[in-house]
């Protein structure tokens, strides 16, 4: 097979998105907040719509800022419901994101019926259109696919965030109150992580959609956690899984003439199930060997 530039760009972009989501997902999982990631990815919808109005297009920085703010608001509402109103965590997540998502849909229906924005685009996305959605400068120079640039920027910011705040993220994920006592700003770190998740969701929704972003946040870290109980290998394995999922997802989608993002997540799910079966069996045999001793 000769070098296919479109395939390369799609796989590169898919990998970058999968890695960005996976890196954040590792810490979301360790904080038992995987479903908060789900909530954020849906709750950003009203922010996208409002940003869309301010900017006049879905390409603007305002859209990302709007989504970021809504992501943080969603986190704060969930936290408030849980701590102050004493609602259980799963219930407060369910209430918050469905409410915010519904507000987003109403906003779209009320104001945006004649513009290029609908909930389908936010929910599903389509990475296959990437090669024809080019970034053209004011003077007419074509710089390449716009979404790839977004993914590179997103990946750089996520990787930088995790690199610079690695010890704070680790400590507050393991034992938040110990961190607070010694003066680590646990709440700030938490909000920063939620903001990164919101931003990543918005940056990725055109390519893979909000639903599939959730899968990329949750599934690769959960799969990697079945194989290793050390943080650095866990992060590396999540990254490798992100790349592998993109490559396999692309070629299987090509083979079956199907959605690339859908195939990526299917591959991720199958890899997870296989890992769970293998590790489940080996831990069972380890259990019996322990019993024999």
């Amino acid at each position: 097979m000769s070098f296919d530039q479109n395939a390369f760009l799609i796989i590169l972009t898919g990998s970058l998105i999968a890695i960005s989501c996976g890196l954040l997902g590792v810490f979301m999982m360790l904080r038992k907040m995987a479903m908060t990631g789900d909530a954020i990815s849906h709750a950003v919808l009203p922010g996208i719509v409002i940003g869309f109005f301010v900017a006049g297009s879905q390409r603007g920085l305002e859209v990302i800022i709007g989504a970021g703010i809504l992501g943080i608001i969603a986190t704060l509402i969930i936290d408030w419901l849980r701590k102050k109103a004493r609602v259980q965590l799963d219930a407060s997540i369910g209430i918050t994101f469905t409410l915010l998502f519904a507000i987003g849909i109403i906003l779209i229906n009320l104001f945006a019926y004649n513009v290029d924005l609908d909930q389908e685009c936010v929910l599903y996305g389509e990475i296959a259109y990437l090669p024809i959605d080019l970034w053209v400068t004011g003077s007419g120079t074509i710089l390449g696919p716009r979404i790839t640039y977004l993914a590179v920027l997103n990946f750089t910011l996520v990787a930088g965030f995790i690199y610079f705040f690695f010890k704070e993220l680790t400590l507050t994920s393991f034992d938040e109150s110990f961190g607070s006592v010694m003066g680590i700003p646990s709440k700030g770190i938490n909000l920063a992580l939620m903001s990164m998740v919101s931003y990543t969701t918005v940056s990725s929704f055109e390519a893979v959609g909000a639903i599939l972003v959730v899968a990329l946040l949750v599934v690769p870290p959960a799969t990697a956690f079945l194989w290793t109980k050390n943080l650095m290998p866990l992060i590396k394995l999540t990254t490798i899984l992100g790349i592998g999922i993109s490559i396999l997802g692309y070629y299987l989608a090509y083979l079956f003439d199907s959605s690339i993002a859908g195939m990526m997540v299917t591959v991720a799910g199958v890899l997870f199930l296989l890992s769970a079966l293998i590790k489940g069996r080996s831990s069972k045999s380890a259990g019996t060997s322990m019993a024999n001793i």
Binding site: F165, T170, V181, G183, K229, N230
Partner: protein, 262 residues
């Protein structure tokens, strides 16, 4: 009976803590001396954990204030260390024993700085003090309860603080380990550190602590062990559980040490 300490490391003034409008600690007012091993005693639900959480600012008092080293809490955070209850974290977290103990050094490192050789040495020395040197690369999920507890104490030691607050560090720990840890705490107190321990067992508390805080929503007593552990104050702390109290008196008689006569 509340006996005030001279040049105290910790001063709590008229503090009230409430959850959902109902106070769980009322008008707590005491001072603690430095370089002592201090026990917080009281029945279940007396507010022992809440008291140390309020000292560290993990729960906000609805009234009163806390001063540590004669300063507001925010200015002296790096000098305070916390040993939380073992059950407060998920031990399936992907980390080794050394990783967890290294966390004790993070507070002094500051933002953007990574732990290096010096931090590793501090962590190894702390693990040596609690007798866990053989387990540095062990996954924390594979530790027994007593070992987990010792890892938490090593993490606090790595912080090199001046005031240590420990929440039930002896829950689920065998007697040999308990004695070894108490030896370590005594040594720390001799070096001038102040160690405050929430403790549920009155019997061992009698032998180990220098200073006692007796709590039951209100502060019942705070002072040197010999002066505050009296039958009347024990009764006030634990209510009418006479059976328990007679057991204590019996034990005290056996050990030829009777604080009730002082």
């Amino acid at each position: 009976m509340i006996i005030q300490a001279e040049s105290p490391v910790l001063e709590i003034h008229d503090m009230t803590v409430s959850y959902d409008q109902s106070p769980v600690l009322w008008n707590i007012d005491f001072t603690l001396p430095s370089g002592q091993l201090i026990g917080i005693l009281g029945p279940n639900g007396a507010g022992k954990s809440t008291l140390i959480k309020a000292i560290m600012g993990l729960v906000n008092p609805t009234g009163g204030y806390v001063k540590v080293f004669d300063k507001p809490l925010e200015e002296v955070r790096s000098r305070i260390s916390y040993v939380p209850q073992r059950e407060s974290v998920d031990w399936n977290f992907p980390a080794s024993v050394l990783d967890v103990v290294m966390m004790g050094t993070y507070g002094k490192l500051g933002l953007f700085k990574r732990p290096g050789k010096r931090e590793k040495e501090v962590a190894l020395a702390s693990l040596d003090q609690v007798g866990m040197s053989a387990f540095i690369n062990r996954q924390i999920s594979e530790l027994s309860g007593g070992q987990q507890q010792r890892v938490f104490i090593a993490r606090a030691l790595a912080q090199d603080a001046d005031l240590y607050l420990m929440d039930e560090p002896f829950a689920g720990v065998d007697i040999a380990t308990e004695a070894a840890i108490f030896e370590l705490l005594k040594k720390m107190a001799l070096e001038g550190k102040t160690v405050v321990v929430v403790h549920h067992d009155i019997y061992s508390a009698m032998t180990y602590f220098d200073w006692m805080i007796m709590l039951n929503l209100h502060l019942v007593a705070s002072g040197p062990k010999n002066q505050v552990v009296t039958e009347e104050l024990l009764r006030k702390t634990y209510g009418g559980k006479l059976n328990l109290l007679s057991k204590v008196s019996e034990l005290v008689r056996k050990q030829d040490f009777n604080p009730l006569e002082h």
